[in-house]
Symmetry: C2
Subunit: 355 residues, 2 copies
DNA sequence: TTGAAAGCGCTAACAA
DNA sequence: TTGTTAGCGCTTTCAA
């Protein structure tokens, strides 16, 4: 049997312990670990040696308590199974790290106001909150504003003046897709919606229907809640119907890929000829050769860095309730016909930019 | 100009403020927010009312300091662009939330010992550390053990006795894939490796080469560092060579899908007849009809929950350095030929279980 | 440059 | 059941 002494969990050494060993005051130890502090080279050496010997590491929890800054940002984000969110989290992680922040993560299915969760985050005294595809209740929004906590919604708009938001160009993108499909000379249109409650989804739908309506085209509609399997089911039902659509716009790439699979493998359709299918986001997989999905890009990196920039601005000054729209491109791939005008070849990809 | 008074960020109310308003002691307020504490119904009401009025929320930072428990677990995880890691993070998030923990996230490219990062996490006094596909330096491992901090490596093995680990069945899986490809009567084998330094990758490669070697089959080899584009390049080069392989094992699904795309779209191969391509992980996309990749499954949910269970066990007792292998299945899809024996149809999927 | 002392907001004995 | 009293580990005046 191994010596049980090996397993005794000692408490971590404190600045006090280091001070005692180095023969200095505890505040000297603190100064040694504070960048701009006034401390002699000799003391610093002594302290550093003692700290090393003991394996001392400054307790950031204690520091946060005193400084009233945790350098932690709370990030609330839904379904990482959707590559769009995974990419967004990766971007946020990089941008926040650069700005000197850590992420306290909460990953949960998209809901409108995950209040109990947010309560938790606020109790941890995060320095700011980033809500991806979800929004704040008015009570919580007021509270955040009262204590000066920056909040930015990513991929959701809000009418609350105290909450900032960053979104892709939902209106412009959906309108472009509608015009693009018209340019491809399609006749029977369909839209597969995500969540009924999503401001983002509603904006895309309104712009798509509006543009098509102005051209005198009706649009069939289904709802798939941003769920892959539900999108398959909706597509299956649409394509199996009496007057199947020859152009489908799915509110996200993830759903569009589901529809694509159904059209190709279950209905044997030549996607890009018989039928065009488009999505929204431009996730990584949209560019895979087996997928090759035409879609409107939401520039994840740009959206993330704008969100972080807004937080930093809000943490400095007093400006609040900023709202930004990040523009994107309509990327043309193999899942659609090629229109006769507006196609611009950038070399590594084709985009649609009608005059 | 709006009244500047609107923007004054007041400090958040403390238990002290609540106590003053409610006319009780500060400790009464504390008790009111401590589940099992002894407090009269009347006081609790008064405190609750005051707390509500002020918008009080207990400061968990202060609580952590005193309790020496943060209820935060540090998670270090690489490339969320790889759906395997995104799924793993989602699973960890769910399991840790159930166990009452929050996640302090660090997302960075896979390296062996991201020490500066880990330093940070330890300074935040996380209650435990989960390292996905990366490992601890011996110095840090010792330190963690000294202060009784549970560490578990997920998807990496270790020889350090103080660090626990949870991995999929890398040996068994790679061996099964080798035997499977032999049963499919392939002749010219190739292996596309991930990172040369990954214990997981090495185990897969050794088992694959070993099994094939025992059958007298040589194996061509390339390295793609788990990067999609690199895998495409390696596949392109292999398939364009003099004696192209008719069976390729990629160390991850992500790379296998890259190879699949090249084989299908660039070389016009009938994958599943001319050539078989297999991966490892069974990510969501492997089941997409356009992909349909035969692969060995790493059960993400099971791995995550084992990791969390180990942490909880380690937090309770003294057991340390546990090491678990979570079994998986070889899932047969369209990217391979169908062997003449061992195929078991489960209804929703086919797996390979030779007698 | 240094140390002493007073907290940051809370929990946990200990008395009352 | 309550209030009083020490701290948790650190930063930050303030004197020395």
């Amino acid at each position: 049997m191994a010596s049980s002494r090996d397993h005794v969990p000692r408490r971590a050494p404190t600045a006090h312990d280091v001070a005692a060993l180095a023969g200095v005051s505890q505040s000297a130890v603190s100064r040694c670990f504070t960048p701009g502090a006034s401390i002699s080279e000799e003391t610093r050496q002594r302290v550093q040696a003692a700290a090393e010997q003991l394996g001392y590491r400054p307790n950031l929890i204690a520091r946060s308590l005193i400084k009233r800054r945790s350098t932690i940002v709370g990030v609330v984000i839904p379904g990482l199974q959707n590559p769009f969110y995974a990419a967004m989290l990766e971007a946020l992680s990089a941008d926040l790290a650069t700005a000197g922040y850590r992420i306290l993560l909460f990953n949960a299915p998209a809901r409108d106001t995950p209040d109990p969760v947010l309560d938790e985050m606020l109790n941890y005294r995060v320095d700011a909150l980033i809500l991806v595809s979800s929004s704040l209740s008015s009570g919580l929004a007021d509270e955040c504003q009262k204590i000066g906590l920056p909040v930015v919604q990513l991929n959701r708009t809000t009418e609350r003046s105290t909450v900032s938001s960053v979104v892709g160009d939902n209106r412009g993108g959906a309108e472009a897709l509608a015009r693009f499909l018209l340019a491809c000379e399609h006749e029977r249109f369909a839209f597969i919606a995500g969540l009924e409650t999503s401001s983002t989804g509603k904006a895309r739908e309104a712009a798509f229907l509006g543009t098509l309506g102005a051209a005198g085209k009706p649009v069939a509609r289904g709802v798939a809640n941003y769920v892959f399997e539900e999108a398959e089911a909706v597509a299956r039902q649409m394509l199996g119907g009496a007057e199947p659509p020859d152009a489908i716009f799915c509110a996200s790439d993830h759903m569009a890929i589901a529809a694509l699979g159904v059209a190709r493998t279950e209905f044997g359709l030549a996607v890009g000829r018989d039928i065009s299918i488009v999505g929204f986001d431009d996730i990584q997989m949209a560019a895979w050769p087996q997928i090759s999905l035409t879609t409107f890009r939401q520039p994840v990196r740009a959206m993330s860095s704008r969100a972080v920039a807004i937080i930093e601005a809000q943490l400095q000054g007093t400006r609040t309730g900023l709202s930004e729209v990040v523009p994107g491109d309509l990327v043309i791939r193999g899942s659609t016909r090629m229109p006769s005008h507006g196609v611009v070849d950038l070399g590594y990809e084709r985009v649609w930019r009608p005059s």
